[in-house]
């Protein structure tokens, strides 16, 4: 589904991704872990199409298409979704309006009819339940004055609305208390199917108790330095990142 080969990217002369390789198949959950500043968010942003980052080399193939050639909105229409580590506040635009525009532009791009107001509301109600988010929150300006937890929940709500094929969750657990974490994880799990895939970016094991990964990768200094099964996450939890750093320095 997603095939990343030797992906290198930089911002303002600063190399951040130094050759990432990753293969993801439908139905899989991949966790990407690593200390702060390793490049996890950069990888997520590059996949979503953020233009600030310059891709200097490598290929990214998504469902048979060259992802790197597409504008961010085209990627979204192909089924890529990024839940932001720091969701943006947009005064004057309600989540409801925002989602209606997004969903309908995606639908039209896929040759489907735009949803009318009634069907949209129905769909929204259904997805709101999934992430236990309140209508009043969705009527407010997008993320403006939301608590950290509300922002994250709103990200997952948007994901539920758009039903992506590849969801990238960037530190969705940070800022969540345990109850909110369970709700968010539960939402993600319910959206999982054998046809879609999830990349969970986190630097804590905690979330992975609820969203169980098939693979765990450690990203450090712009490279994936270690991959394994879900037990790798537990090992990292127990031992921290120092041993990984040492291994890298030695090699």
């Amino acid at each position: 589904m997603l095939s990343i080969k030797n992906l290198q990217a930089r911002i303002e002369e600063k190399e951040i991704l130094k050759g990432i390789n990753l293969e993801i198949k439908p139905g899989e959950v991949h966790a990407i872990m690593g200390p702060n500043g390793s490049g996890k968010s950069t990888l997520a942003s590059v996949l979503a199409g953020r233009e600030e980052f310059e891709v200097t080399s490598g290929d990214v193939n998504f469902l048979g298409k060259n992802l790197l050639e597409m504008a961010p909105e085209e990627r979204a229409r192909e089924g890529v979704f990024l839940a932001f580590q720091y969701p943006i506040e947009i005064p004057g635009v309600s989540t409801v309006n925002f989602m209606k525009t997004a969903l309908n532009q995606i639908r039209v791009a896929r040759g489907l009819q735009a949803l009318d107001a009634v069907s949209f509301l129905q769909l929204m109600k259904e997805k709101m339940k999934l992430v236990e988010i309140d209508q009043s929150l969705l009527n407010r300006s997008l993320n403006e004055g939301f608590s950290g937890g509300e922002k994250k929940r709103n990200e997952i709500f948007q994901m539920a609305m758009l039903e992506p094929k590849l969801a990238i969750l960037d530190e969705t657990d940070s800022g969540l208390d345990i109850d909110a974490l369970k709700i968010v994880a539960n939402g993600v799990n319910k959206l999982k199917s054998k046809n879609n895939a999830t990349i969970v970016v986190t630097h804590y094991q905690r979330l992975l108790d609820y969203i169980v990964p098939d693979f765990v990768h450690v990203l450090y200094k712009g490279r994936i330095v270690k991959s394994g099964g879900k037990e790798l996450a537990l090992e990292l939890e127990a031992k921290g990142y120092d041993w990984i750093k040492e291994e890298v320095e030695l090699a």
Binding site: A48, G49, R50, E51, E52, A71, P72, E73, R75, A76, R77, F81, L82, F84, P87, I88, I90, P91, G92, V93, F98, M99, T101, A102, L103, Q105, I106, A109, S141, Q158, L162
Partner: protein, 427 residues
């Protein structure tokens, strides 16, 4: 760089003879001694309007050609209002509809001829002909406009729409209109001034003098949405007495070159004044807003929010003066001017100018200019929204902060649609 403005634009300016002849001649004299503003004129230094007029017109004498426009083309859908239509500066009875049950509306020229006290007490008392050449030009040459008079304790139910349409499809047009508005004690009225034009270059000056008596309320909405060829000067002076409330909206949505002077004189206590502005500029459009909030007595509030979006080669100018006179203690005065520049060539000059002589006051001002928020754009695109829609969405939300303050729902929806349509089509 500055071409000296040859004042031949001011030749052949005839002064109509009527009850205000003396005032007109004085104004003409001021006009000639001031000359049209140049880049050296402090209040016009960023606004080369004289040069634009030079390029497009032979003279600034008021033209006499009649126009032929169906005002309905530009109407505000579903707005229940007293409508007064002027085409090329001529009152169009057939296209107007208003009742004089709650208020007195009559041609200003007639009112001035019949009622001496109006000339003595109000006319040309607020708009200073010695300070601005275009005020002098208007005072010398105006030939149309209204007296709108609301007696004490009248809540005028419908807004009054003054619709000034210029038809320059056959020749260039120059118009000069003048309104005098008297709002009586504890009365309430909403006045909308709307400008439209078709055809070639046309230039209009308007001067409004407005007296708002004790405890009265006025909403004054200026809608400038011309098809692109109007050069326009609008000067509105409002004098407020104690406990009066004024809400002004200056919405410059289209046009060629616009200069607006909006001057509020808070001449009483317990006054509440709001000035909201929105300018959306494309191409080589120019919009210059000069505002004044003059606090002359204690315990009043003025609040100002002007927002602009500039694309293409367009240019915005904002100058906001706040005066707090020595006796105006406990004044609250706030001002904010925000600008978004969408292209490298678009510019804005913004200048707050606070002069505060009292010591117990709360004043704040701020101006910003920047680009559209790239992060917000990316966020929206990452949800499948095209870059163009995302831009329009963000700009619309940005403009919404001004639009949402319009209290008449029909008018608000009209402006809302106009802005949304324009942002999607032209930006």
């Amino acid at each position: 760089m500055d071409l000296a403005v040859k004042n031949n634009l001011l030749e052949n300016i005839a002064v109509p003879s009527d009850g205000t002849s003396a005032i007109r001649h004085q104004a003409l004299y001021s006009l000639h001694s001031l000359g049209l503003p140049t880049s050296k004129t402090e209040e016009y230094k960023h606004t080369a309007i004289s040069r634009l007029l030079e390029k497009n017109f032979q003279s600034l004498a008021v033209s006499t050609s009649k126009g032929n426009v169906v005002a309905d083309t530009f109407r505000i859908q579903n707005l229940d209002a007293h409508v007064l239509v002027f085409i090329n500066g001529e009152f169009d009875q057939a296209q107007s509809s208003f009742s004089t049950k709650e208020l007195n509306i009559q041609p200003l020229a007639v009112a001035l001829a019949e009622r001496k006290e109006i000339v003595e007490k109000y006319f040309s008392k607020l708009a200073d002909t010695k300070a601005d050449a275009f005020v002098s030009l208007n005072t010398a040459t105006w030939n149309n406009g209204l007296l709108i008079e609301i007696k004490n304790n009248v809540q005028v139910t419908k807004p009054i729409l003054i619709h000034q349409i210029n038809d320059a499809s056959k020749s260039k047009i120059i118009t000069a209109s003048r309104n005098l508005i008297l709002v009586g004690k504890s009365s309430e009225v909403s006045i909308i001034e709307k400008y439209d034009s078709i055809g070639e270059a046309n230039f209009s000056t308007t001067v409004n003098e407005v007296f708002v008596a004790e405890n009265a309320g006025l909403t004054y909405t200026l809608i400038q949405n011309d098809g692109g060829q109007r050069y326009q000067f609008n000067h509105t002076s409002i004098q407020q007495e104690s406990n009066s409330r004024v809400n002004c909206f200056t919405l410059s949505l289209n046009g060629k070159a616009i200069r607006n002077n909006l001057q509020l004189s808070l001449d009483g206590e317990g006054i509440d004044s709001h000035m909201y502005g929105l300018y959306l500029l494309t191409g080589d459009t120019l919009a210059d807003n000069h505002t004044v909030a003059d606090h002359r007595k204690p315990n009043s509030i003025s609040n100002e929010l002007y927002k602009g979006v500039m694309d293409g080669n367009s240019k915005g100018v904002f100058n906001g003066k706040i005066y707090v006179r020595p006796q105006a203690q406990k004044t609250n005065a706030f001002q904010s001017n925000r600008n978004i520049l969408l292209s490298d060539k678009a510019t804005v000059n913004t200048k707050p100018q606070l002069e505060i002589w009292a010591d117990d006051v709360k004043c704040s001002h701020g101006c910003t200019s920047g680009q559209l928020d790239e992060e917000a754009l990316f966020y929206m695109q990452s949800r499948g929204i095209s870059k163009d829609s995302a831009r329009a969405f963000l700009l619309y939300a940005y403009a919404g902060e001004v639009i949402e303050k319009i209290s008449n729902e029909t008018l608000r929806n009209y402006i809302d649609n106009l802005v949304s349509e324009r942002l999607h089509k032209n930006f």
